[in-house]
């Protein structure tokens, strides 16, 4: 069976809901490349999701171009993880089992096994669904880069909602 045409479906749905059309950015150039400088078993790994993950006690996300992010300690118990995202229809399973959208336990297991060298002290989330490419380029991406750099990661495991 074919894969779902999400871009077309989401455009049509938003149009019916009276939302402005969400515009994805098409990249047509060759992507940049950071060579992995050492074996994965020696790499410090960070994670980020755009699923709107937060820890109980943190402020939740709002749904109109929220460009903020949250630090999620990589040893957070899964029962303390929550989700707050514009597309609530994709969240029911993650709200029962946070690993569906924020695979924190699998990464902990890979670190325990030595497949990866270790985990960053903090993982990150944001909400995505930011309508402005300029705001992603100028606000979200630099902030997330600085956050990963401060954690000293070699690798970023990126999980879109």
């Amino acid at each position: 069976m074919n894969t779902v045409e999400y871009m077309r479906t989401i455009r049509e749905k938003y149009s019916k809901m009276g939302y402005a059309p969400y515009g994805w950015h098409e990249a047509t150039d060759t992507p940049p490349w950071a060579r992995l400088a050492k074996p994965l078993s020696e790499c410090r790994v960070g994670m980020m999701t755009t699923a709107g993950t937060y820890v109980a006690g943190q402020e939740a996300y709002f749904y109109k171009d929220d460009t903020s992010h949250r630090l999620i300690p990589s040893d957070t118990p899964v029962e303390n993880l929550r989700f707050s995202h514009l597309t609530e229809n994709y969240l029911p399973d993650a709200r029962r089992d946070p690993n569906c959208a924020f695979p924190i336990e699998p990464l902990r297991k890979l670190a325990d096994e030595g497949v990866i060298g270790g985990l960053a002290e903090n993982f990150f989330s944001c909400m995505g669904a930011v309508y402005s490419k300029r705001r992603v380029d100028e606000e979200v991406a630099p902030t997330i880069y600085e956050a990963f750099a401060a954690e000293g990661v070699d690798v970023a495991y990126l999980v879109p909602l």
Partner: protein, 123 residues
């Protein structure tokens, strides 16, 4: 997410985008990506399926370690446990949409989360 992946790789951090929306990932052309044909919201894997969730993370990490040129999207050999029925729901535009309004009010998963957050900030 693809924009962020590119930004990180330009600055020396290797990335892997773990995608379940193939058209969106292709459009954004991240440096490294894996794909499996699961419903959105399941980039970590199916509900209460720790072994499959671990297998996905393990395979994605292996792809990250072994790719040698930018722009590839590697299809992981993962099967959604309940067949393809979810696809008709994912494209059903007549379905009710009960999501909260798109405004600047924080939307807590649980009411108690709001109380905890407000207590933490003295709000």
């Amino acid at each position: 997410m693809c924009l962020i992946a590119r930004y990180l790789e330009e600055r020396g951090i290797a990335t892997i985008v773990v995608g379940t929306a193939l058209d969106i990932v292709k459009f954004g052309a991240p440096p490294r990506a894996v794909f499996f044909d699961f419903p959105l919201g399941h980039g970590g894997g199916p509900l209460f399926a720790p072994e499959q969730q671990l297998a996905i993370a393990r395979e994605a990490m292996s792809v990250l370690e072994n790719l040698s040129e930018p722009g590839q999207i590697v299809n992981l050999n993962q099967t959604w446990p309940e067949g393809d029925a979810w696809k008709s729901a994912a494209t059903d535009e007549s379905a009710d949409d009960v999501r909260s309004p798109r405004d600047t009010t924080p939307r807590y998963q649980l009411e108690e989360d709001q109380r905890l957050a407000e207590a933490a900030t003295g709000g």
